[in-house]
Structures are given as structure tokens and as C-alpha cells.
């Protein structure tokens, strides 16, 4: 047995647990190798030291060992009393748990981090049942930890996603151990909110999936910002109406729905008439108020599921649907819009009167896609505007010819300017009393290679709309000056060369300098040139008009007001403007002499103008009776077929030569 006892001692000596044998007062009688290592003292150093009386319960207790090196070591302590060599001793078993304690501390750190993060964290087993959640998850979901633990995570489902969504999520989780994406979950209070979710599988050492960890970020705020951005991108900030982008989307959706459901769609484009004048005369602040009021009135006319949008400046769009009779419904809507806008606006202390031109295109009659419908509706709108505004037009197939022509004309006009397809014709202006030529009005024509000779009414408006009017106007002015100089050099007196100037040319940055440069370039004396500006352009210019006109006048040229009588200007206003001549619009002349109203107006204009110091020239004089009437009221100057049609330069040259050779009698009209 002695040999066996030695074996037991050896076992104790080599045990991996530290073992101390203490006497009844806690003094160390024996320490094994592991204990020596634990305390850091040589074994002999431990013997006889006072460890302390140990009395442990059944469970091990944790104590701190003061290692000789100074550090503290955590150890589990168990003890057992036993009889040895006739006395009671205590055997203390100590196990180093420092690493475990550090791991526990680490875990506490992790736990603290998990509990303090704003992201919701959920741990499930593979059932999947929720086995752990953090505080943030409770906050996001509204469920307490107790309400979540043990439950299937599906209790958070909002019904927002279909089963296919979750099947795909699980398939990826099983295949790739992770999934992330946006899930709309339902909180306990029923509110559905978007969350960004990261789910990772946790595998055991043997590679088996044991848990899933889901991290939930509340992205409601991000969604709100996205909604805000979406709003900015799709709404007109002034009126809060859908903008062009959103309107096109709605139109597209509506057309898709209409095709599927065999319903009809009506598109109305409404353009405010002469809105520019509101901005110009009352300021943009008032203009904005007008637009807001129009937006409100239009919105009040449609059903909640129909769309009113602001496409640009003063252009609004209305989208309506109907099972049948869309054309009629669109007409009624157009009339309601016109009526709604007819009520005067009380703004800035004054009453404003506005009206709109409206174009209508419908599906399926006028097109079946967004581009076609918008384009055709635009053509109809153009027609409505051309008819004088405050009205509506349905798109008609003939309009598409117009639209096509318009597109072609625009490209052709670019070419015409480059290829010199434009020509000038000249129409004589005469002094009927003295029977002499006083001037030639230059009128632009377009020698179109396919369409033949086109009058300005066919292309000037397009030139104005596309900005080509500026180079075109310069070309006209230069060509007329050069031609006039040629006649002058040939000793052919023509009086003045009269050139029409468009509103765009007057409104350009430096109209006076442009004209001055052309005069200098061509060498034509300024007193040989007359510029004709329409009354409408002058009225549009308002405050700027006197300065611009005076600037032109200072160059030494003459100024005529064209189409006088059509622009509602008062003679009193004209008095302050440096015009030499007023050209009475031909609409007043054509009724002469029988139409008493025309006769009275022309008589009054002639009388007042001469008193204000203006010369008066009658446009469109075609008959001998008109000539006599005009002479009778003191209007000596005239232009019209009676005296000569507009003709090419070479014909005019011949005419001038005849005039130069044989002047006509003073009481007779010159005849080409």
C-alpha cells in the first residue's frame, strides 16, 4: 500500500488544479506545483504562510489571488475538510479563471455595446425563435423583450411583403449565411416603418448553423428625406402642383391604365394669355400670386384622382379620364377653366383680368403615347392662341400638318439664312399730293427651293419663336442698306429705305449699337434709312421705349410707327416719342370711304397727328376712291397696290429710272 500512497501524492502534486493543504487556522501545510505557479512563489515560500481559514459552501466561490509578480489572478476556490495524520485539515482547490473572467468582461462589454447601440439587434435560434433582443429593438418595434423572446420573428411582419420576398430572403440566408435589405415591419402600435436589416448566420465550431443575428436600422428618417427629395424633383415649388416630370409619369400611368381598361384620356394644355405683361408691368411677385391663384382655381375643377400640373412658366396641364365621350368631357373642362379664370383676380389692390388659351388632345383619338399626345396637344394650343386666345381648340389632324410644317420650316430657315435663300422686295411709298416717290419699304421674302416664294407671314413668327429673328433682321437691314447705297450710287433717288424692325431686335441688348454698326459697315448715310416699329412693340417696351427710340433717332435716321391703330396706344403717349411718321394700319383703309367708322377714325388720326407734328402714311391703299378720301382729310402719304406692289430690286431699279427720267405731274399719283 505504501507504493500506492506515493502514487496518490504524485497525482496531487501534478494535478492541474492548484491544491493547498491548510491547517485549522489557515496556515499552508502543503502546496502542489500548480499552486506554486498560481501564487508565483517557490513552493517552500508558500509553506507556513497564512492563507487564511477557508469555509466554502458547496459551490466554488471566486477569490482574487495576489500573484508574487504583483498582478491579481481570479480563481475559483473549493474546499473540503478531512482528517490527515490524526488532525483536521482543509484541502483547498484553486482553479485559475482569469481568462474566463476576462472573456466574461469582454462579454459584458459586448452586451453594453449591444444594449447601447441605436440599432435593434435580434438573435434567433434556427427554429427560428427569438432568444435575445437588445433595448433598441424594443424601441423600434414597441415590443418589450419579454414579448419578443420565444416568438417567431414573423410577428413583426407588416403584410407589406409577399411570401415570395421572404422565401427569397431565407433561400439566400441558407445559401450564403447572410441577407440584407429593406423590410417594412409593423410595430406593436400598428405603425409600419421601413428598416434596413442585416442578418447573419452564426455557425458552431463544427460548422452547423446555430443562430441568426439580425441588425435592424430604423430608416424612416432616410425615407422621409427621400420623400422630400422626391417632392422637390416632382413638384413645382411655387404652386406645389406636379411639375412636367411628374405630369409625364402620371400621363404614362394613366395611358397604361386606359389601354388595359378601355377607358379614354383627355389632355388639356392651358397657356395664360399675355402673362408676360403681368410680370413686366406688375412685377414677378404679382405674377407669382397670379400663378398660385390659377393653380388653385384649376385644382378646384378636377376630381381628386385627376391631375393638374404646372409644366413651365404660365403653362398648366390638366389630365382627365372618362369611360366614354372624352372629347365632350374635355370641352366641358376647357369651358370650366375659361369660366374659372374669367373671374377677375383681386391682387395687390387691383383687379386683374386673365384668360387662357387651351389645347386639347385625347387618347385614343389623337395619339396613344405620351410624346404624341403632348405634341398634338401643343399644336392645338398653338391654334387656340393664334385664334386670339381666351378659347380652346381640339387637336385636329390638319394640325399635325401644321406641326410637321413648323418643324421643317425651322430647319429650312436655318439653311435659308446660310444659303442666301431670302430676298428683299421693295414697295414704293408716295406723296400723293406732290406725286413723288418718298421711300421704299423693304419686305422680306423667302425663295424656298420646294415651296416657292413665301411671304413673311409664313416664317417671321417661327423666326421669332426660335430666335432666328435676330440674324434674319440683321440680314434684312444690311441687304436693304447695301441696295439703297447701290441706287444712290447710280443716281436714282428713292427717298428713304424703310426697314421693319421686330420686337426682338428692339429688345436685344444693344439695338442702337447694332444699327449704328450696320450703317457704318455699309456706308449708307443715316438720313436715307427709316426704321418701322409696330405699335405693339412700342407698347410692350413701355418705359424703355423713349430711350431706345431716342438712341436710334440720334443716329440721324427716321422712325415710323407701323400698324398704327392696332395697339391701343394713345396719341398723348405717342407725343413723347420721337416718331416722324405714323403708318395707319390697312384695316382702317380698306373700309374707306364708305365705312363711316373707318372714315371717322382715319379723319381723326390725320387731324390729331398733324397737330402733334407727325406725318401720316396710309397703308394698303388700293383704290382711287381711297386716295381721294385720304387727300381730303390731309393724309398725303400712302403706300399700296394703287402705287405699286412689292417688287424685286431689279424691277424697282427700272421704276426708279423712269421716275428719274420723267417726273410725274404733281396732282397725279406715280404709277410704276
Amino acid at each position: 500500500m505504501a507504493a500506492q500512497r506515493v502514487d496518490f501524492r504524485q497525482i496531487v502534486a501534478l494535478a492541474s488544479d492548484a491544491i493547498l493543504i491548510l491547517d485549522g487556522r489557515g496556515t499552508i501545510l502543503y502546496a502542489n506545483a500548480a499552486a506554486t505557479a498560481l501564487f508565483g512563489d517557490p513552493r517552500t515560500g508558500l509553506i507556513g504562510q497564512d492563507f487564511g481559514f477557508v469555509a466554502t459552501p458547496d459551490e466554488p466561490i471566486e477569490i482574487q489571488i495576489k500573484h508574487a509578480g504583483g498582478k491579481l489572478v481570479s480563481a475559483d476556490l473549493r474546499s473540503v475538510d478531512m482528517e490527515m495524520d490524526g488532525r483536521t485539515v482543509t484541502v483547498a482547490f484553486l482553479r485559475d479563471v482569469t481568462e474566463r473572467k476576462q472573456a466574461e468582461a469582454q462579454m459584458r462589454l459586448y452586451a453594453a455595446a449591444v444594449d447601447n447601440t441605436s440599432e435593434g439587434i435580434m438573435v434567433t435560434d434556427t427554429t427560428p425563435a427569438i432568444i435575445a433582443v437588445n433595448a433598441a429593438l424594443s424601441q423600434i418595434t414597441g415590443y418589450t423583450a419579454d414579448e419578443l423572446l420565444g416568438r417567431n420573428p414573423s410577428l413583426l411582419q407588416s403584410g407589406y411583403h409577399d411570401p415570395v420576398f421572404f422565401r427569397a430572403m431565407w433561400r439566400q440566408l441558407l445559401d450564403q449565411d447572410h441577407w440584407r435589405g429593406e423590410i417594412w415591419n409593423r410595430a406593436k402600435d400598428g405603425e409600419i416603418a421601413p428598416q434596413w436589416v442585416n442578418i447573419n448566420a452564426v455557425r458552431s465550431e463544427t460548422g452547423r448553423v446555430t443562430h441568426y443575428v439580425g441588425v435592424f436600422s430604423d430608416i424612416s428618417d432616410i425615407k422621409r428625406s427621400e420623400a422630400q427629395i422626391e417632392r422637390l424633383a416632382h413638384r413645382d415649388p411655387l404652386t406645389d402642383l406636379p411639375n412636367r416630370l411628374l405630369f409625364r409619369t402620371r400621363l404614362e400611368q394613366t395611358l397604361r391604365r386606359a389601354k388595359a381598361g378601355r377607358t379614354q384620356v383627355g389632355l388639356l394644355l392651358a397657356d395664360l394669355d399675355a402673362f408676360r405683361h403681368v410680370n413686366d408691368s406688375l412685377g414677378h411677385g404679382v405674377g407669382d400670386l397670379v400663378l398660385c391663384e390659377v393653380a388653385a382655381r384649376l385644382t378646384a375643377l378636377v376630381r381628386p384622382d385627376e391631375t393638374v400640373a404646372r409644366l413651365s412658366g404660365d403653362e398648366f396641364a390638366v389630365l382627365i379620364e372618362s369611360d366614354t365621350g372624352i372629347e365632350t368631357r374635355a370641352s366641358l373642362m376647357a369651358e370650366r377653366i375659361i369660366d374659372a379664370l374669367a373671374r377677375p383676380l383681386a391682387l395687390a389692390g387691383q383687379q386683374l383680368f386673365i384668360s387662357a388659351s387651351i389645347g386639347i388632345a385625347t387618347y385614343p383619338n389623337d395619339g396613344d403615347d405620351v410624346a404624341r399626345l403632348m405634341q398634338n396637344c401643343d399644336a392645338a394650343l398653338y391654334q387656340a392662341r393664334e385664334s386670339g386666345g381666351n378659347g380652346y381648340r381640339h387637336y385636329a389632324r390638319a394640325l399635325s400638318d401644321y406641326a410637321r410644317e413648323r418643324v421643317m420650316l425651322i430647319s429650312d430657315l436655318h439653311r435659308a439664312l446660310a444659303d442666301d435663300e431670302l430676298v428683299l422686295h421693295y414697295q414704293p411709298q408716295v406723296d400723293m399730293r406732290q406725286g413723288r416717290l418718298i421711300g421704299l419699304e423693304a419686305l422680306v421674302r423667302w425663295q424656298h427651293p420646294q415651296r416657292g416664294l413665301l411671304g413673311p407671314n409664313r416664317f417671321i413668327r417661327i423666326a421669332e419663336e426660335t430666335g432666328l429673328i435676330l440674324p434674319l433682321g440683321e440680314w434684312v437691314l444690311r441687304t436693304a442698306c447695301v441696295q439703297a447705297l447701290a441706287w444712290q450710287a447710280d443716281g436714282l433717288p428713292f427717298g428713304r429705305i424703310a426697314v421693319n424692325v421686330s420686337g426682338a431686335e428692339i429688345r436685344r441688348r444693344n439695338p442702337v449699337e447694332t444699327v449704328a454698326a450696320l450703317l457704318e459697315e455699309t456706308g449708307l448715310p443715316a438720313d436715307r434709312l427709316e426704321l418701322e416699329v409696330t405699335e405693339t412693340v412700342v407698347m410692350d417696351l413701355r418705359e424703355e421705349a423713349p430711350a431706345v427710340l431716342a438712341g436710334l433717332k440720334r443716329l440721324g435716321l427716321a422712325l415710323a410707327m407701323d400698324d398704327f391703330g392696332t395697339g391701343y396706344s394713345s396719341l398723348a403717349y405717342l407725343k413723347g416719342l420721337p416718331f416722324d411718321t405714323l403708318k395707319i394700319d390697312m384695316s382702317f383703309i380698306s373700309g374707306l370711304p364708305d365705312d363711316t367708322a373707318s372714315a371717322a377714325i382715319v379723319d381723326a388720326i390725320a387731324a390729331l397727328a398733324s397737330r402733334l407734328g407727325f406725318k401720316v402714311l396710309a397703308e394698303g391703299v388700293e383704290t382711287e376712291a381711297q386716295r381721294r378720301f385720304l387727300l381730303g382729310v390731309g393724309c398725303d402719304l400712302a403706300q399700296g397696290y394703287l402705287f405699286g406692289r412689292p417688287a424685286p430690286a431689279e424691277e424697282i431699279t427700272a421704276l426708279l429710272e423712269r421716275f428719274a427720267e420723267a417726273p410725274q405731274p404733281s396732282d397725279d399719283a406715280p404709277r410704276p
Partner: protein, 93 residues
Amino acid sequence: MSGQLLRLYIAGRTAAASRAIANLEAIVAGLAAEGQQIAIEVIDILERPQLAEDERILATPVVIKKLPPPVRRVVGDLSEHDKVLVGLDLKEA
């Protein structure tokens, strides 16, 4: 029997240290009920390492009774109240 002092040495506010303090207070309260006034002093050897050296402390928590002699010390969370009293020689085994 006045003037008795028990010094409890701990190493930081660990869970075991807190249990030892609570147990020692309960033990002393029990003695007080029997008319034995004993003061407690808690000493954290992390804050006063020299005291641990002076007392040759090997492990904490440890409660040390110096007076009246004999000097006694008991290691652990002091949860076994009766055995603690015996170990401190405050009660017959």
C-alpha cells in the same frame, strides 16, 4: 469586549467582494444582537497595495482579526456565517 476591529481586504469591487462585505455586515449585526460590538473596516488593496504587502495577504476577500489575539484570517465570500465565526475564533467550534 469593546474595541474589536475586523479588517476586510478586497481587491476591487468584484461580485465576490460585495458578497463578502454584505456577509460580514450580517455576521457583525448578528454579534451586535448578542451584545458584542465589532467595527468593520474595508480596505481595497488596489488602492492601498502596501497594506497587502504588510499583512502578507495571499488571497482576497479575506477578513483579518488581530485583537484580541490570536490573529485569525478567513478567506472567501464569508457566506458560511457559523464557520466564519469559528475561523475568526469568535465562537467555539
